[in-house]
Subunit: 194 residues, 6 copies
């Protein structure tokens, strides 16, 4: 029997980001578990930094997912969860958003959670989304890095490469949202076939 | 290198329940991933059905966890999350409660969630806990089976054996809380060593 | 001095709906006030009934608004407020969503409010949006007509033609969301130039 | 056919404030729309600055409204919305409070809103009222001018004369509550007769 | 040393209600504790059943309290807590509202609380007040008796005479709001002088 | 007829704390009212400063209450309300927690409330508990003394001895939680027998 697939979609067209995601998710690629596949959204912007960037990838993500017959679950790997609702509408297979999964996973680890945003301008959008999810009550706050998406992907990999050093330095759990989402996807896929 | 361990603790002393948990979690036992180990709390009640049952296992769970040097993460496998806070206070290693993880995982799958309780009398307690977690806003409701914990464990296994048939019959995601928690534990453990 | 313009955009391509909107808004077309103009989104679907319909018009609405140099304010006349955030990002001129304005106006008239949805399937989406706006606390409930958008536009006009008879029959205020939004737009435009 | 009337009531007895309101609302006085009429509450205090001031005008406002047969809608033009509920109880015609309408209109313009209070001592009262309206979730904060009501009315007019300069200086929407309320009243009256 | 006084004010002018309150509060009249005194608001309506009734007693209550030099604390004995804020503004001595104290005391006894209203029409007003107090989260519901205030006071005394039989019949705590408020007043007065 | 008893339990084993409680509650010991009795939990820790301390006294408190046939009501006199739910499950007699009663009583006195914690580390626990009680909406904040429980009990008595000086210095009500709880217990007991 072939391994079921989890498709992790990078909605921006920066392959360096996709490569960073692939590196960050290796620990979940178990030989006897689902295969974790990565795909760059060809017609995505180079970085998703505005509401227009978000909206511009929603329908392309929907089409990608509807045209995919081989994946058992999908992860949209951008902290704005672009197209999440429209993708869910288009398939019976589970679709995970990394912002949603990141926050939910943080809530399983501590009393309150904070968010590191890439840019200041995204914070009101994130706050709106937290309200939409009904998950504001344990929010401690959000702080920006004031970097571009491309900057965060350069150097030695994605943000995920900073997770463990940060966790060690701070002494509190640090959640990488994509790792959180692929973990949930893995559990969902694995239990749906056993 | 030896595999890190996730210790799933059944806080009641009913070995049939522990066996059911073990059956339910097999799909997450990857050769190259953490080892999932199960333990019955020897001095737990036969079923945790009252607040007294919950309180009576809190400190035994804490002692079990403090005395364990070999596990990388813990899962308390009872939907009342007994002793969760006191266990977290006693260790730097992550401790997951299945109620918390079950609800959080449900929130990653659908707009609203419902809960199947074993007994009616537990529902006010669960509502209080949802308020404590700040997670009431997307609750659709909770309904009781009006069974004993022992009854739910008899027959062909734990509740988890009903998950997939229920999901197929209802056409909506059905989350098994222990599966949700061990999934989160697996991700946490796996990413903390890579 | 020429009159400033309020552009009311019907995001679906059903001209009968646009005509109904035009009829419904006549009372706000004061000779000495802003001109209320109506436009059908040429590449919109015939009715906006799904999340895909919503997403598919977001960027076209943004482009329409960015390409418009003659309007002082915009109203997106669809109860899902498609593209509202992305349109606001694209212009300094005010953009009103009829769902947002409808609910806010209802809150100025009564202790609680209810919503008449066209279809049952839209209700979870509306609930999500109410949470996003932080406006759930005084919601009494929502009930569906179980009609298509096209059906609601046929006959003697849009839904707005039923507003006064409903209000008379029920003895409580009945708000037409587009009337609410254009009212707010009119005030905004009128006070910004005096 | 005579024009319907919107009666804007200044609940304090300071005619300078009433005059300022009249100036501020001129842009909504359309020849083919409702007539906007202004009235000073003769037995109101010179400024409404305390809870006692608020309570003292509630019943006089009710009597004024009950004794008025010629207005189609009423606006109570004081940011404490004195007597709003009791006035609504006394008439089937719509009664608008400027605090309620101001906040609701702000919510149609931005992600969060702030409030400029005249005096520090009013802020706890305003917070209590925001809770009552269920509208606290998007509040950014409130700051006092630490002036008397009379001081705010002196000089070149009411606060409303500062709205546009403030808006230009800050680059964000600035809402004048009375303008917001009369706008809503205008829409309500206009649509109720067409 | 003379005993400090707690003044319980019946804001309606029905002496039968005041007498019922006096009967209901006897158990708190300890020889070595504060004296509990009762007063009927002479110019109150015969029953407080509308918003107008509530507003009409606010300033009379304020004047009564400001003119009273002999009481250490006040209780406003009407479930609408008329004039509570304005009375608090007028004195440094504590003023208790029976609705507020009734709900708060109920929250010390059970997971959720319900309210028995005298009339259906009061329920929206009570809901508004619960929101204002920030105390809706544990509300189970409210049901009306559909009686007049006068009817509830006739027969063998006030509602308080039904408290114990109801409690026995229902097997859950039943709180009389005036008893709750005078209890809190007694503690406050007693601790302020020792 | 003998006086009914209110049993105030100090869950820590520090007799100095119990003595301080006894001093603080003297004003409620009315000859014709319930007798207020104090008991030190023999097997409690010297101070309750951690979650483990809290959990360790829950079942001992339950057993103490179940084994007590002579008290009409119980007060658990520790600001973490240890064992409150499990004690309530074990008896039909009312059980009061001082944190719950303290916050509820504060809400009857002012618009917002603050909390003085003994130690910083307790604050997240208190926040969690406030969420559980649904009582966060009017919280102004919490500040720690950074003392041990033993330190707060040394000198001239418990914290309660500072209540009046603090109240005088601050000009706002200062609530002692144990006084608040025993007051509520007194009212409950007194009205249940009359």
């Amino acid at each position: 029997m072939s391994r079921p697939r989890i498709l992790v979609i990078n909605p921006n067209s920066n392959h360096e980001v996709t490569q960073g995601l692939e590196d960050a998710l290796k620990p979940l690629d178990f030989a006897s578990g689902p295969e974790v596949i990565f795909q760059t959204l060809a017609d995505g912007p180079f970085g998703i930094e505005s509401q227009a960037d978000i909206e511009s990838v929603a329908m392309p993500l929907r089409r990608l997912i509807e045209g995919d017959n081989s994946s058992a679950a999908f992860v949209i790997a951008c902290y704005s969860d672009p197209g999440l609702q429209v993708c869910r509408e288009g398939t019976d297979r589970p679709v995970f958003g990394i912002a949603e999964c990141g926050v939910l996973t943080a809530l399983a680890r501590a009393e309150t959670f904070g968010v590191i945003a890439i840019a200041q301008r995204s914070i009101p959008r994130h706050m709106r989304y937290l309200r939409q999810m009904g998950l504001t009550e344990r929010l401690a706050g959000e702080r920006p890095l004031n970097m571009s998406v491309a900057e965060t992907a350069s150097g030695e990999g994605t943000l995920a490469s900073h997770r463990r050093p940060l966790e060690d330095a701070l002494g509190i759990p640090v959640i990488d949202p994509t790792q959180a989402a692929v973990t949930m996807a893995l559990g969902t896929v694995q239990f749906s076939r056993h």
